[in-house]
Structures are given as structure tokens and as C-alpha cells.
């Protein structure tokens, strides 16, 4: 019989091995899934993980896409990871991302078409504020009324989507757009656009911000007393209170920070790659970032790697849909499996498996 036995010390080796193992097993299980759909599993896996980077036919288009997709994922995931370490579960980054984009876009549309160097910085502030404010709703409800931030933040995503649809078809609709839903093209409004900084690199201000956020988060988590308090609160709440950490302050801080970063990601997206507010503006970065945060071991450097990998599955997945006719849902299943395997293997860093005869416990 198999038994799990707690390790005296968490295993550092397994901590590193689990993400790699999870990716490998996702490929195997994904391959089986694709074979069941009647596709060549090897071709599909290669299409997802290899072709976007190295196939000469696709690489020139898809390589820059890597940073475009990884930027918002990393930016959001870094914020989430800080909260997750404290045991504060912001599941609603998708909603904060939408509200951040709406606030940023509102600034741009208000100034349209006047020029001004200050417009873009103002949009950045508005985007961060929008995400922060949306995250303050679960934060205040939790600290005041002890509600569950998982539920509140998740449900607010659907509220944010409704607001997005209302804005795209209502107040933000392009007056010159012949009645079609969607705002003006912000990317073509020079004072407000978030352009590609180096041609064909995919690098835009959002990616730059993501890397700054990674460095900032690394210092916060590993060098600053606040990062220590965050981890203490997550691991041993009672010890944290004994150490003088105020739990309510931490909730407000973590939700606010992750909300602001998600809002920034939304702003950079709407002013850059997405170009405008539209009904289907959000594509699930806020949810995928949860996988990125865990796949990256809630560690800033790990999150960069995980963000790039998840971006690759997005791009490769689109490619596979397009080239092999895989259903789009199968890619989401694929990403979900990654998180599933990761969490399952995580058991091994704290426990070891023993083969033993049955024993009444």
C-alpha cells in the first residue's frame, strides 16, 4: 500500500523538480487528449511548444507575441503571488484588469484628440487606480464584514465584464464607428498609445513595467521586513499577530497591490496590443496568471519563466487551432492540466511516498 509520510524538512530538490515534472506530464496527458481527438499528438505538442519559436514559417510573427502575451501574465502574477504567500486569495485579477483598462481608456478618450506628454502617464495612474479600487471592494468587505475574498473577488469579475460590455456599447463607443460596439482606436492616438518600443520584439511599456515589478517583488519578498510579514501571515497567522503584524492592513495591502498591477496590465493592453475597448477585450490573462504564479513557485524569477511558458501555450495553442483544427477549449484544458499536475506533485516536496503494509491508523 502507498503511504504519504511527512518530511522533516521540505525538500528543496522537489521544489524545483515539480514544475518541470508537471510540464512534462502535461505534455504526455495533452498528447493523449489530442490523440483522442484524432490528431497526431507529436505534431500537436511540437506545434505548441516548438514551432512558435523556431519554425521559420511562423517564428517571425509569433516570437514578438511571446513578450506581448507574457508581459500582462507576469505583471498580474507577481502581484497575485505576494498575496498568495500571505494566504490572501485574489482570484479576481481578471476583473481588476478590465476596470484598470476602462479607467485608463476613459482618460485617453476624455483627452482625445488633444496632444500632451502628460496624457499617457495620467492613463497609467488611472489604470493602476482602477485595478486598486476594484480590489478594495473584496478587501474592505473582508476586513469589515469578514467575507471571503475568493468569492467576492471572483464574482466581481462578472460584474466587471458587464460594465465592460455596457461601456463598449454605450458611453465609450466610438462616435465615428458607424454604430459598431467598441471604442476609438487608442493605439492610433499618439499621446495615449503604448507602442512597441523596439521593432519586432513585442517589447512595450507593459513588459518593461512587468520586469520592474519582478525586481521590486523580489526585493520586497526576500529582503524587506514586509515580505517576511507577508509570508509569516500566510504560514502562521497567530505567530504573525504575535510578531505585531496587523492582518487587516496586510489584506488591504496585498489585494491593493495585486489589483493595481492587474489594472496596469489592463491599461497597457488596451493602449497597445488590444488597441481599444471592446466587448471581448479580456481574454483570461487574470485567470491564467493564477497558474503562472503557482507554476513559478510564487517566486518572482520563477514567475518570469512560467509567464513565458504560459505565453508560449497561448501562441502555440492558437497556432494549433489554426493549423490542426484543434478546438479552442482543448488548449484551456491543456493549461488547466498544468496547474492540476503542479498542485498534485507539490505534495512531494512536503511528503515522501512509502510502500508499506496496511496499518490501522
Amino acid at each position: 500500500m502507498l503511504r504519504l509520510e511527512k518530511r522533516p524538512q521540505p525538500s528543496a530538490a522537489w521544489g524545483w523538480a515539480t514544475p518541470v515534472l508537471a510540464v512534462a506530464l502535461t505534455m504526455v496527458a495533452g498528447g493523449i487528449l489530442f490523440a483522442a481527438l484524432g490528431k497526431d499528438p507529436f505534431a500537436a505538442i511540437k506545434m505548441i511548444f516548438w514551432d512558435p519559436l523556431f519554425n521559420p514559417q511562423f517564428a517571425s510573427y509569433s516570437r514578438p507575441q511571446l513578450l506581448v502575451k507574457a508581459g500582462p501574465l507576469i505583471l498580474i502574477a507577481v502581484g497575485l503571488a505576494i498575496g498568495f504567500r500571505a494566504g490572501i486569495w485574489n482570484i479576481g485579477a481578471e476583473g481588476q484588469y478590465i476596470i484598470g483598462a476602462l479607467c485608463g481608456a476613459a482618460v485617453a478618450l476624455a483627452f482625445f484628440p488633444s496632444p500632451g506628454w502628460y496624457i499617457f502617464p495620467l492613463m497609467v495612474l488611472a489604470g493602476a487606480f482602477g485595478g486598486w479600487a476594484w480590489a478594495m471592494i473584496p478587501a474592505i468587505l473582508k476586513t469589515r464584514f469578514n467575507t471571503n475574498e475568493i468569492l467576492v473577488s471572483l464574482l466581481l469579475v462578472y460584474v466587471a465584464e458587464k460594465i465592460l460590455a455596457a461601456m463598449a456599447t454605450g458611453r465609450m463607443r466610438n462616435p465615428d464607428g458607424a454604430g459598431f460596439p467598441g471604442s476609438r482606436n487608442i493605439a492610433q492616438y499618439p499621446a495615449a498609445s503604448n507602442p512597441e518600443l523596439i521593432a519586432n520584439s513585442g517589447m512595450h511599456w507593459g513588459v518593461v513595467t512587468a520586469f520592474i515589478a519582478v525586481i521590486f517583488a523580489y526585493i520586497l519578498l526576500h529582503k524587506h521586513i514586509l515580505g517576511y510579514q507577508v509570508q509569516l501571515a500566510g504560514q502562521a497567522p497567530r505567530a504573525a499577530r504575535f510578531a505585531g503584524v496587523a492582518p487587516a492592513r496586510l489584506v488591504v495591502l496585498c489585494l491593493g497591490l495585486s489589483g493595481a498591477l492587474a489594472g496596469l496590465a489592463g491599461l497597457f493592453e488596451v493602449a497597445g496590443p488590444a488597441r481599444m475597448i471592446s466587448i471581448d477585450f479580456n481574454v483570461g490573462y487574470g485567470f491564467t496568471a493564477i497558474i503562472v504564479a503557482f507554476l513559478g513557485r510564487l517566486h518572482p524569477v520563477g514567475i518570469v519563466l512560467a509567464g513565458l511558458l504560459m505565453a508560449l501555450t497561448y501562441i502555440g495553442g492558437e497556432l494549433a487551432q489554426f493549423m490542426l483544427g484543434l478546438p479552442s477549449a482543448s488548449i484551456q484544458v491543456f493549461q488547466g492540466m498544468l496547474l492540476f499536475f503542479l498542485l498534485a506533485f507539490d505534495v512531494l516536496s512536503n511528503y515522501r511516498i512509502r510502500f508499506a503494509r496496511a496499518e490501522a491508523a
Binding site: 509520510e5 522533516p8 524538512q9 521540505p10 529582503k223 524587506h224 521586513i225 514586509l226 517576511y228 509570508q231 509569516l232 504560514q235 502562521a236 497567530r238 505567530a239 499577530r241 504575535f242 510578531a243 505585531g244 496587523a246 512509502r354 496499518e359 490501522a360 491508523a361
Partner: protein, 505 residues
């Protein structure tokens, strides 16, 4: 010689990395109170769990009235006539006594009939108990009666009691002992697990002493002194904490009419708590668990805020301050629960050194943690307090209870407190570590700090404290000098009687 009730022969049980029992053999006779004596980690619990069918030994055999006995689950052991009262009760606060008893039985009769049985058994054995009372309203002593009555309803031949007196007042202990002696006179046997030597000398007929999983001695405890028993248990000569005579200094800690509600619904409200402690004084606070000890510590550590003028450190009001501001003024605390409260289980000793040492040891500058210095502080604590561990990179939960406690108490003492408050400093700690901790507390007081020791171990308090007060249902009695205090007086204080409440200490 008559056949023993239970004979254990060559019992061995290993866990990964630990030999819990190694070739343990002993007999329990009919109508005998048999003491199982040993320090924490000596293997007492493992042995008892094997008898009760909770674990299966790797090798060795048990014979019950001469026949092979291999219980593979507790209900098989119960069917044979073994009953057990655990140290930690498995009772539900929201149910009444009869319902709680029914939950622990294999085939409970209808509640009405059970209630009648409970009344009868509790009368027969001098254990007054009302079957309709809600468990949440009962004291620890009454809760234990529920567990004992539940066992007695099964008409056991062998009753196993794991540290039964750790939650009782001296008066309650007397009642329990009367019951146990009555059971013995009926020909029932009792396996009595404890490390309280005086109790074992007063109650038991035979003793088996365990050390590191092995039987190291058998004796008639009535023929030995407590000191001899302790040395059998520990295996070395015990160091007796000692302290030269001294005169108390200025008032270091003062509490004035502190009223504070507990944040937890099952907590205890502190009522009109007033006391003062002088520099160089050790105040012992006794009381049965759940009478406000945790709340008292939290009110001093700053985890619970009080009105500004309720707590003073060296004349400075601190009631409104948080934990770190109080630490800055020299008021340090070590809570009872080591893992999860005093220390974070998954964090290294270095990280745990930062937990309370951050500000007073200046380990943080401009918000940034100086990890080199923190590690140095952790190493200093490990060295000075003889914490047995490979180094400060080890996570807290990997340490034994005694070693972690030495680290936790050492971490506070190394910060040179003006006032140190500790809750249950030697609970679950082996005798050698306990002696070291007590000596460290006495040295600290000798150096001019005021020390408050909250403990349920009266022997410990009488050994190290200068003055004594008791917590009862959130009220603190006036303090009295330990010298000249009798056990009877202490029992009355623990029970809440206070002859001279007005005589301010």
C-alpha cells in the same frame, strides 16, 4: 503467582528515524494500579496506543488473561475490556453530557436510558455529573469525568489514563484518586501514565520506567523518593534550579483593573485583573487551563489591546500599544503554543529569530532585513541555550519540543527584557530542558528583570516563583508570597476563593 491481566513481551515499534519502543516487556496484574513513567518521547504513548489497538507493533506479543491479544482497532480492544481516557478530550462543546457519552460508545443505548446509567455510575464512583448539562459549561475536571464515566459504562477490566491530572486542581485530583482506588478495590486494573512523581508515589502499586523506548527500571514507587524516580526517568543526576537570596526592586510591571473580552467565542473574559511585579521578582500564576491564561498573555504581549491606563511597564502606560512598541519598552512574551504562535513551523530558526527580535536586536534597517545579523542572533540563541539542532537553517517544526522551547525562551531572554511573561514554559519539555529553562528564568530575574510565569504545573511554580497568584474564570487573585504557602491554600486560590482580595500586593 496468579496470571497477569495483560502481559507484554518484547514489544518493538519503529517510526522512520525513531525507535519508539524497543523490546518492552511488562505485566499488569489484576486489581493493580500500574504506573508508566517516562519523559516526553520515552515511548509511553506508542506503547499505550498499541494496547488500545491504534497502532500495530513491529514485533513482540501481548497476552490478555493468557490468550494472545492483537487488537487491530480500538473497538476490538474495547470489546476485550480495555478503556482509555486520553489526555486531550474528544468532546463536543455544543452537545450535552449524555450525547457526548453516546458518541464515544460502540452501541449506545437510547439517550434516556443512557442518562439514567450515567447518573448511577457517577453516583457509585463519586463523580458528580448531570447528563443534561451542556458540555461547553463544564470545567476541565468535569469534562474528564465525562470521559471517565464513558469508559466505566463499558465495564472495563483495564483503564488506561494518559496524564489525567494535568488539567485538575489539587482538590479535583483527590476526588479522582478516590475513584481510582475504588476501581482497584473492585479488581479492575489501571495503567496510569504520568510524569508527576508525587502522584505516582501516592497512588500506584508498581511502576515501569521507560527511557528512549526501553524499559530502564521497575519498582514499587511507594518505596522510592521522588528524586530517585526522576533520576531513573532521566538517567542522570538532576540539576536543581537555584537562586541566591535577593531583594525586590522597583515595580516593573503593573496591571490596573484590566477588563478585556476574549476575541474567541469560547475564550475567557479577563475581569478586574490587577497585579504588580517588581524588578527581580518571579511571579507564578497558577490555574487550570482555560481560565484566562491565553487572554492574560495576549493582553500583555499586545495581541489584545487594552485601555491605555490598564498596563504599565516601569510606570509607562502601554495598554494601547501593539506588540512591537511594547517590545521596544522591554516587555517581552513567550506564548504557550510553540508551533504556530511563538514560532512559525515551516520557517527556519533564522527566520523565527526575526519574528520577535526584529526591532530590539536592530535586525531591520530602513525596512530591509539584515539576514547575516539575524542568522548571527539565531546562532547566539542556539549556542547559549544549548538548542540541539544542526544549525539555524533548520525549520522550526523539525526540532523536538524541548529544543524549540529552549530556542523560543532563549530568543526572548537574549533580548534583555525588563519584563518577561511566559506561558507554560516547560509544557511537553523533557526534564533536562525544563531544568535549564527554569534556571534561565531565575538567572534573568537575578539580573534584575521582572518575570511572570504562567503554568499549570504547581511544583514548577513553587520551585522558582517568589510570589503566587491564581487565575480563575478570568479573575486573578491577589498575590501572596510563595514561602509559607500550603497546598490547601493554593487549592483554594485556584478554586477562586480569595481571602484578602483588598490587600493590594
Amino acid at each position: 503467582m496468579s496470571e497477569p491481566l495483560l502481559a507484554i513481551e518484547g514489544m518493538t515499534k519503529t517510526y522512520p528515524g525513531v525507535v519508539a519502543n524497543s523490546d518492552v516487556s511488562f505485566d499488569i496484574g489484576k486489581g493493580e494500579i500500574h504506573a508508566l513513567l517516562g519523559e516526553n518521547g520515552a515511548g509511553k504513548s506508542t506503547l499505550v496506543k498499541a494496547i488500545y489497538g491504534l497502532i500495530r507493533p513491529d514485533s513482540g506479543s501481548m497476552r490478555w488473561r493468557g490468550a494472545p491479544f492483537t487488537p487491530s482497532a480500538p473497538h476490538e480492544a474495547r470489546a476485550a475490556g480495555v478503556a482509555m481516557v486520553f489526555q486531550h478530550f474528544s468532546l463536543f462543546d455544543a452537545l450535552d453530557v449524555a450525547e457526548n457519552v453516546a458518541l464515544g460508545m460502540d452501541n449506545p443505548p437510547p439517550l434516556r436510558r443512557l442518562a439514567a446509567q450515567i447518573r448511577k455510575v457517577s453516583q457509585d464512583y463519586g463523580l458528580p455529573l448531570d447528563p443534561d448539562q451542556l458540555l461547553g459549561d463544564l470545567s476541565a475536571g468535569q469534562r474528564q469525568r465525562v470521559e471517565i464515566v464513558r469508559c466505566l459504562l463499558q465495564d472495563p477490566h483495564l483503564l488506561i489514563m494518559d496524564e489525567p491530572t494535568s488539567v485538575l486542581t489539587p482538590q479535583e485530583v483527590d476526588t479522582l484518586f478516590r475513584t481510582l482506588r475504588q476501581l482497584r478495590s473492585e479488581g479492575r486494573s489501571i495503567l496510569y501514565i504520568s510524569h508527576k512523581l508525587e502522584e505516582i508515589r501516592a497512588l500506584c502499586d508498581k511502576a515501569t520506567v521507560l527511557r528512549l523506548g526501553k524499559v530502564v527500571g521497575r519498582c514499587d514507587p511507594r518505596q522510592k523518593t521522588a528524586r530517585e524516580l526522576a533520576e531513573m526517568m532521566v538517567g542522570t543526576k538532576l540539576h536543581q534550579p537555584e537562586r541566591p537570596p535577593h531583594a525586590p526592586g522597583e515595580v516593573a510591571l503593573e496591571i490596573r483593573a484590566l477588563n478585556l473580552a476574549s476575541p474567541s467565542p469560547f475564550g475567557t473574559r479577563l475581569k478586574e485583573v490587577s497585579i504588580s511585579v517588581h524588578a527581580g521578582e518571579i511571579l507564578g500564576i497558577g490555574g487550570v487551563a482555560g481560565n484566562g491564561q491565553d487572554e492574560f498573555l495576549a493582553a500583555l504581549s499586545g495581541e489584545m489591546r487594552a485601555p491605555r491606563g490598564a498596563v504599565f511597564v516601569k510606570g509607562e502606560p502601554v495598554g494601547h500599544l501593539g506588540p512591537n512598541a511594547r517590545r521596544a519598552l522591554g516587555l517581552l512574551c513567550a506564548p504557550e503554543q510553540r508551533l504556530g504562535h511563538a514560532a512559525a513551523p515551516e520557517m527556519t530558526l533564522t527566520e523565527n529569530a526575526l519574528l520577535t527580535g526584529a526591532w530590539r536586536q536592530k535586525l531591520v534597517k530602513g525596512g530591509l532585513v539584515n539576514w547575516t545579523k539575524t542568522r548571527g542572533f539565531a546562532e547566539a540563541v542556539i549556542k547559549r541555550f544549548d538548542v540541539r539542532t544542526p544549525g539555524p537553517q533548520v525549520v522550526a517544526r523539525a526540532l523536538s519540543g524541548g529544543n524549540l522551547q529552549k530556542f523560543v525562551i532563549g530568543r526572548e531572554i537574549m533580548q534583555r527584557p525588563e519584563v518577561l511573561v511566559v506561558n507554560q514554559p516547560t509544557w511537553g519539555v523533557d526534564a533536562a530542558a525544563a531544568a535549564a529553562i527554569r534556571q534561565a528564568l531565575m538567572d534573568l530575574a537575578q539580573g534584575g528583570a521582572a518575570v511572570v510565569v504562567i503554568s499549570q504545573d504547581l511544583d514548577e511554580l513553587l520551585e522558582i516563583a517568589d510570589s503566587f497568584a491564581a487565575l480563575n474564570a478570568g479573575r486573578l487573585t491577589a498575590k501572596r508570597p510563595v514561602r509559607g504557602l500550603t497546598l490547601d491554600q493554593i487549592g483554594l486560590m485556584l478554586g477562586g476563593a480569595d481571602e484578602d482580595t483588598d490587600a493590594a500586593a
